[in-house]
Amino acid sequence: MPMTITRRRLLAGSATALALPALVRAQSGVKPRLTVISQWSAGSDGAAITALGKKFEEKGGIWQHSPVPGFTTEMMNKLRAQIMAGDPPACSQLKGPEIAAWSKIAPTVDLDNLVAAAGYEKVVAPDLARLHKPGGNWISLPLQIYSTNMLFLSKRAMDKAKADKIPVTWADFNDLADKMKAGGVAYPVANGGTRPDDGQKFEAALAGISPAAYRAAIVNLDEKALKGAEVKAAFVQVRKIADWMDPNVGAQHFSTNLKRFIEADMGMMIQGGWAQGVLRNAGFKFEDFIIAPGPSDNGKPVFLLNADAFIFWKRNEPDLQAGQTLMAQLVMDPAIQTMYSQITGSIPVRSDVDLSGAGWSDGQRRTAAALKDAVASDQAVLSLAHNMAQENGMTAAMIDVITEYVKNKAMTPEQGVARLSDAVEGAR
């Protein structure tokens, strides 16, 4: 069984780690303890972190989780307060480029030996791995992945459009939307109105047109790429999408309109993989919708990565150090990732986890397959709308332009391009 081998590897990893004098002290006779801060408190997120805590306790550890309800800012306030108070959590939830930014504020733990022992680096998408070792060493570990550009198709809207082919490219998508409109679907593209919503449409458009241009313009903020033809083409595509959306959706959560999506008042939804869990929990049936990777003009799947991770803060207490080692091992363990993703509806970070068994949904299998293909063709890129591509300030500046573009139909794609690069310049 592959898992036993991994366990053994993990054991070997602990042995390597034990070679470090500090950790020898940490491991000798103390009960591992972990202080954790996360924003996961409600629903499946709360259930998943609770299950992880149980596993930690089963291994003989003491699990001290302090959920910080709310959004990322609240958790960061709490984290900052704890760091300033000289009492950083042994481990805290953090994601994207914020990992690099925060690692400059307080010392972190070097996890290289543990990662090497678990063979983790080989099974993590390269763009994702880079984020978690900002100074060259692993200081944080990704736990689960969502794709932000999955395409959800309403079965009834497909019937109205008399279509049965899942769109692959943006041209197919536009064609299908036109057919839906002609067939009586009032709004071929479903939408919500929260901040990531418009951003997700833009990133899906640009990455689908050219993942390379997306990486250059959005992730690396290359000036030429930001003003390039692909970014303009993305704005053109977003205009089409915006014209197909219901303009009367205010700042609503996308889930508010799920009924309209299922009943073919709205046709297609560009959403994160999590929408599958939302649809299921809202009581809708799998037969009512189809999930596919977002449109990609070169035909190969494009995967916009959104990943949750833990960062490990340096502590001198032996029991906390032992707890960090145990936690790192658990987070990288395929069995733990399986358990976690099956609760939340995400997919595991490890590309070697087998998703064929019961407990996984078709949507998750398709997402994992898309990730594998996207990594193989170097088309797995970091999501802007979900704070994976840029730090918070830069993300906010860019999303502001995109939201205005979606709402203000008088803005031309040329103006969109100019405003976006101005916003980037201003936020730099």
């Binding site: 408190s41 629903g43 259930a47 609770t50 309800p69 306030n77 959560h253 995400s346």
Partner: protein, 285 residues
């Protein structure tokens, strides 16, 4: 009592006022209705609608059922935390504000207007700006992650408002009253206790309402300076709202919000009556 008049202008005024009241109350009606609808029902129909089946269980879940990560206690213990912070902070800050307002309005001393100015400056500092200084203070006195620390924060933050309120109210008290009392041999605190305080119920009630509402509804300090099971009720309410792969828990959320709003509503309800009575006490002579 006066007879109701049916002049056209009166009818128009009532019509407009009723419409405005209806507009203001509409969101509350949605929340109340949703507190009786299951999450699935809301997700499958629409945010606005009449309950198909009355889901009383939302209230049970809100009060003692829902989970914040590992702990499934509903909002009950968090309500207690909020009370443990709000009640002392409200009382202490109101009393200190009354004394301070009395001192700066009715006594002259060197730098009195400066002190008043500096105290009220606190009104203009955004909460976020004070977050880090408070972190340092709480760390140094060892009160970070304690309810006592939170009481201290809210008491001191509240002083700006309570001093301002009381000072403006006492400014209308005739100085002769104080002078007469001093001739009779009363000191600073005796005058406050015997003369000023008995005059103060309207402003004290306004201050208490203000402080209670603000501290009860406060979230940023509550979530930053406490941890886990000590968090205030606002943190528990937010905990219900953030889950990525779930439908928002609108039903339980609505019930929890209504329960959590009860204490402030009660303070308004009872305080408001005294408030009006206090205001009109001297009106008919």
């Amino acid at each position: 009592m006066r007879k109701l008049s049916f002049e056209p202008s009166r009818v128009l005024i009532y019509l407009v006022v009723s419409l405005l009241a209806a507009a203001y109350l509409a969101p509350l009606v949605v929340v109340v209705l949703n507190s009786f609808r299951s999450n699935q029902e809301i997700a499958q129909a629409s945010m606005i609608g009449w309950p198909k089946q009355w889901a009383w269980s939302n209230y049970a879940a809100a009060w003692s059922g829902f989970c914040v990560a590992e702990t499934c206690t509903g909002i009950r213990p968090y309500m207690l935390n909020s009370a443990l912070v709000t009640i002392p902070a409200t009382i202490i800050s109101t009393m200190l504000g009354a004394v301070a307002g009395y001192a700066v309005s009715l006594w002259r001393f060197r730098g009195d207007s400066w002190i008043y100015g500096i105290v009220t400056l606190g009104l203009f500092l955004p909460q976020q700006m004070r977050l880090l200084p408070w972190t340092v203070v709480l760390r140094d006195i060892g009160l970070i992650n304690t309810l006592t620390g939170l009481v201290l924060v809210h008491t001191i933050q509240g002083l700006s408002f309570t001093t301002l309120f009381c000072r403006n109210y006492y400014a209308a008290v005739p100085h002769e009253l104080i002078r007469a009392a001093r001739i009779d041999g009363a000191g600073f605190f005796r005058i406050f206790w015997r003369i000023i305080l008995p005059l103060s119920s309207p402003i004290l009630i306004v201050t208490v309402i203000w402080q209670f509402t603000h501290i009860w509804n406060e979230f940023l300090y509550g979530v930053t300076f406490t941890t886990g099971q000590q968090q205030p009720v606002t943190a528990a309410l937010i905990a219900l709202s953030a889950a990525i792969a779930d439908i928002p828990q609108h039903g339980v959320q609505s019930a929890a919000v209504l329960i959590a709003a009860l204490p402030t509503l009660l303070v308004y309800f009872f305080g408001g009556r005294y408030f009006v009575r206090g205001l009109t006490a001297g009106a008919v002579k």
